[in-house]
């Protein structure tokens, strides 16, 4: 799994790495800001029949067809009615077959942090909705905890995996 090694080949500068954080069910999650391509408001997408519910469909991003994933549903949280604050974060995901552009739906975008490597603690085994294999570490920041997420691992898991091309 190449996504495990991605942490190693990122070069950490003196002043650390920047993360963008977003909210899901009042919890704050961080992703590497370099993976974020853009933020979009919610607009209806085209559903793909017979796909798990968290895969909301595909949308047209300047001519590219990109899949959109609802992270709440992905982690089994109750669905929210999409509103004006609902955000689609367009991210660049690395997988075996190269880079894929995907969208994730989150409750809201929170802030950006600059985190030094030393601040990041290794995540303990957490049971519950978010499988620890999708978590790279935890950071305590102003009395709150930010969970750093491994988007490559997450976006290449389960139904989102790059399957071998189906015959036919």
């Amino acid at each position: 799994m190449n996504s495990h090694e991605l942490g190693d080949d990122l070069t950490y500068s003196e002043d650390g790495q920047q993360y963008l954080s977003f909210l899901l069910e009042d919890e704050e999650y961080g992703i590497d800001i370099l993976r974020v391509q853009e933020l979009r408001g919610w607009a209806p997408v085209t559903p793909i029949p017979e796909m798990p519910d968290y895969l909301r469909g595909v949308l047209n991003l300047r001519g590219a067809i990109i899949p959109v994933i609802d992270l709440r549903l992905r982690f089994g949280l109750p669905a929210l009615v999409y509103g004006p604050t609902t955000v689609v974060i367009v991210i660049k995901v690395q997988s075996e077959k190269g880079e894929r552009i995907m969208g994730i739906i989150v409750d809201a975008v929170a802030e950006t942090y600059t985190l030094a490597t030393g601040q990041i603690q290794v995540s303990p085994q957490i049971g519950g909705v978010i499988n620890s294999e999708f978590i790279t570490g935890l950071v305590a920041h102003d009395d709150k905890m930010i969970v750093l997420m491994d988007i490559d691992q997450l976006m290449n898991s389960g139904e989102l995996a790059v399957a071998a091309p189906v015959a036919g």
């Binding site: 085209t46 949308l59 067809i65 899949p67 399957a163």
Partner: protein
């Protein structure tokens, strides 16, 4: 000269393959020993040889060198152009192709084939098997000169960073000295001024003469560690009398403007031997009158070398028409020449009609590069790219990625234009105002974007001759094997088709043509007995028809044996005894999977790959294939293909609350079903009676696990699109049929993954995404699921998720 050559290798290979195609089509055109045709072939071979030498593909270079020698003899009339010789050359083309493919990392060339063709060439050239001769070396015919090398001449050109890699040339020279007497000549011409000298870089090249009886491999081993950090050429050192050539080289004043560079030619000559250059400056004008783009110099060259005259002339081959070259032998060379086969005649024929003796000031006229009877595509693939003539470069190579990006961009533009059109329309309707200028502006925009889209699509289009020109060879070989006489008549080879379609259509066409040769045409005896001309005809026609390209393969053979096909289909259970079918329908059965009438597996067709594969491949390109047979008089296979894979004509349909695109090409008919035409099976209306056939229905809602529509009970009154794929018809039950439109196909794979049942997606005028249905996948999923129309049926496909909620 430490240029990384690898980036040019791809180009070299590409051009070589083109050259081979030119050689092949010209060879098949050799009935008349037309000088220009042989010249064309010779030039193609020469370019391949030169390129191969440059990149160190010695095997290719050596082999091609022999071919070239043979061609040269044919050109000079030393060898008669005979059928066997042409066949030998055709086989050589195959060998070169195989060698190039192995260079490219493909499978190694078949050594037996190589050896036999090589032998054939040697026999044809009447030469004793000589040791492999490196390029730009004296040709092997000089059998009089000692064939055991007295040593090796090593041209060692290290890259500048050799020292930084921890290598030390001096050590290598010491190691070489163990083999024998060493003579090292440094070439310091590349040394910069002292101030600019970087002590860590190496600016010196060496010419090393090694007198020794060691093998070439021994020498190579010394340089093994620096292979990738230097340009190395090792050539046998032969002790010959001081001999060589005096060359008077008077270039045309505008020679550099046609992309030629005299100094490069002089460089090349130094590979042949010791070169002394004297420049003649007498024509230099005053500085004020000097046109920097013209050449005023001429040169007197003295080349001490044991090469033959042809090798010297070869260096100047590309500029023959633009300069004056006089080659005369130095004393001592003459004896060598008598031993070799000097070809003054060859030189004379090699020059283009605008003779090299033309005065320098005369404008350059392009050499006629086309054969008199241009073989298909030879005309647009003459080695123009290889013969730098300003007047001939009417095409450029563009990376297809760039074109694809352009096509995408234009696709976006079309969508934007559709959006603007829609907004304009709404604006005019809602305000009631008549914005005539806006309207005409929008209409103009629409026209322009459509035209632009068509133009860009055309950039990707190539004449189908690129596919067709492999067929004369195929027919030549196959008919020879079968002992049949065949005329291949090609027409419409200039019809254009998208490159991607072209790349994929070759194999099915090969199969169809082989089938015509193998099963369609009779032997000469049978034909005579049937009162036909003993030579059969296979026609290959391509033409545009509506938005598709049609390729017909027509033979005047025996036609299809309908009775035999029917019997075979019965045996294989494809049809039942009481099925009433027209002959036409029976003939079409040959495209069914598992159908083959070949009595015994022949070497050519058969092999278990049948017409069903042909049909499947063609349908996967969005095309179709059909057959018409006239027993006793022949058969006609028609292949129709979309012009491009980037756009398709779609029927917009609604399923539940979403719009989908159904490719128009697979739709047979759309209509509203009535109760009468539905026949219940086990109480469920799942079959539709359509033109004497019972075809299964697939409810798209059920397939997509969507809530059923109220009226769907029994499908009566439902809208049905009859689609056909691979000879299988099914009826798709949809909710509504909208209009038809051309859509730009976008891949789902790029950012997601392929999904069975969908061929991709497109973007509609309002900017939203609509999925394109893939009929093959839909039929597969629909029929395997045994569609019942309750949503809790089993797995309808690969992607079903048991506890799926339908969140709209």
């Amino acid at each position: 000269m430490s240029i990384d050559l690898s980036q040019f290798i791809a180009t070299f290979l590409e051009e070589s393959y083109e050259g081979l195609e030119v050689m092949e089509s010209s060879l098949l055109d050799m009935d008349s020993a037309d000088e220009e045709t042989i010249n064309t072939i010779f030039r193609a071979a020469h370019s391949i040889k030169g390129g191969a030498g440059t990149f160190g593909f010695n095997e290719v270079a050596d082999f091609t060198h022999r071919v070239e020698t043979l061609l040269d003899e044919m050109r000079s009339g030393k060898q008669a152009v005979t059928g066997p010789l042409v066949n030998l050359l055709l086989e050589s083309v195959d060998c070169i192709k195989a060698l190039l493919e192995s260079v490219q990392g493909g499978a190694d060339a078949d050594p037996e084939m190589l050896a036999s063709v090589q032998k054939g060439l040697e026999v044809a050239l009447g030469e004793a098997p000589a040791e492999a001769v490196p390029v730009a070396e004296r040709p092997a015919e000089v059998a009089t000169v000692a064939s055991v090398p007295a040593g090796w001449q090593i041209d060692f050109q290290p890259h500048k960073d050799l020292l930084q890699q921890g290598h030390e040339p001096a050590f290598m020279f010491e190691a070489l000295e163990d083999f024998g007497e060493l003579n090292v000549q440094p070439d310091c011409s590349g040394l910069p001024a002292l101030a600019a000298l970087d002590p860590e870089l190496l600016h010196i090249n060496w010419q090393i003469g090694l007198t020794s009886d060691c093998s070439e491999d021994d020498v190579k081993e010394i340089f093994e560690w620096v292979e990738d950090e230097c340009d190395l050429s090792i050539s046998p050192l032969c002790i010959t009398p001081a001999a060589g050539w005096r060359v008077e080289f008077i270039p045309g004043a505008d020679i550099v403007q046609t992309g030629n560079e005299p100094s490069l030619m002089l460089d090349t000559l130094t590979d042949l031997g010791e070169l002394t250059v004297e420049a003649n400056l007498s024509n230099l004008p005053a500085l004020a009158d000097l046109n920097p783009e013209l050449i005023y110099l001429s040169w007197q060259l003295t080349l001490e070398s044991d090469c033959d005259e042809a090798s010297v002339r070869e260096v100047f081959e590309w500029v023959e028409d633009e300069c004056e070259i006089n080659v005369s032998a130095l004393s001592g060379a003459e004896e060598a020449v008598q031993a070799t086969e000097a070809q003054p005649a060859a030189v004379a024929t090699e020059t283009a009609p605008d003779s090299p003796q033309a005065p320098v000031s005369e404008p350059v006229t392009p050499a006629p590069a086309e054969p008199k009877t241009p073989a298909p595509a030879a005309a647009d693939k003459t080695p123009a790219a290889r013969k730098p003539k300003a007047t001939e470069s009417s095409s450029i190579r563009v990376d297809t990625d760039k074109i694809d990006a352009l096509i995408n961009r234009v696709g976006e533009l079309v969508i934007t234009q559709a959006m603007l059109g829609q907004i304009g329309q709404e604006l005019m309707e809602s305000t009631g105002a008549d914005f005539e200028r806006l309207q005409s502006g929008l209409e103009q925009l629409e026209r322009n974007t459509r035209d632009l889209q068509e133009d860009v699509m055309r950039v990707r289009m190539l004449p189908i001759s690129f596919v067709f020109n492999r067929f004369p060879r195929l027919v030549h070989d196959v008919s020879g094997k079968l002992g049949k006489k065949v005329d291949l008549v090609i027409s419409g080879e200039q019809t254009e088709i998208d490159k991607t379609v072209m790349e994929k259509i070759g194999d099915p066409l090969v199969h169809l043509i082989r089938n015509s040769l193998d099963h369609g045409l009779e032997t000469p005896e049978e034909r005579l007995a049937a009162g036909k001309n003993e030579t059969g005809t296979v026609q290959l026609n391509a033409y545009h028809q509506g938005g598709v390209i049609v390729i017909d393969i027509i033979d005047d053979g025996r036609g299809l044996n309908t009775a035999r096909i029917r019997q075979k289909a019965l045996e294989n259970g494809l049809i039942t005894e009481d099925q009433a079918m027209t002959d036409q329908e029976i003939d079409e059965l040959i495209f069914k999977p598992g159908f083959s009438t070949a009595e015994e597996v022949s070497d050519l067709s058969g092999r278990g790959v049948g017409m069903d594969v042909v049909r499947r491949n063609i349908e996967s390109l969005g095309g179709n294939v059909s057959v018409r047979s006239d027993p006793g008089n022949g058969a006609k296979f028609s292949v129709s293909l979309p012009l491009t894979l980037a756009i398709l004509d779609g029927q917009l349909v609604r399923i539940h609350d979403q719009t989908y695109i159904l490719p128009l090409v697979s739709i047979v008919e759309t209509f509203q079903a009535d109760k009468k035409s539905l026949s219940p099976i086990a109480g469920e209306n799942k079959l539709l009676h359509f033109r004497d056939e019972y075809i299964p229905l697939i409810s798209m809602r059920a397939l997509f696990k969507l809530p059923p529509e109220a009226k769907e009970e029994g499908f009566a009154g439902s809208l049905i699109a009859i689609v056909e794929n691979g000879g299988q018809k099914v009826g798709l039950v949809v909710d509504e049929l909208y209009g038809q439109q051309q859509v730009v196909i976008k891949s789902l794979e790029v950012n997601f993954k392929p999904i069975e049942g969908f061929a991709g997606a497109t973007i509609l005028g309002d900017g939203s995404v609509a999925l394109i249905l893939d009929v093959t996948g839909i039929i597969k999923r629909g029929l395997s699921a045994g569609m019942a129309h309750s949503a809790n049926t089993g797995n309808g496909g690969l992607q079903a998720v048991p506890d799926r909620e339908n969140v709209a």
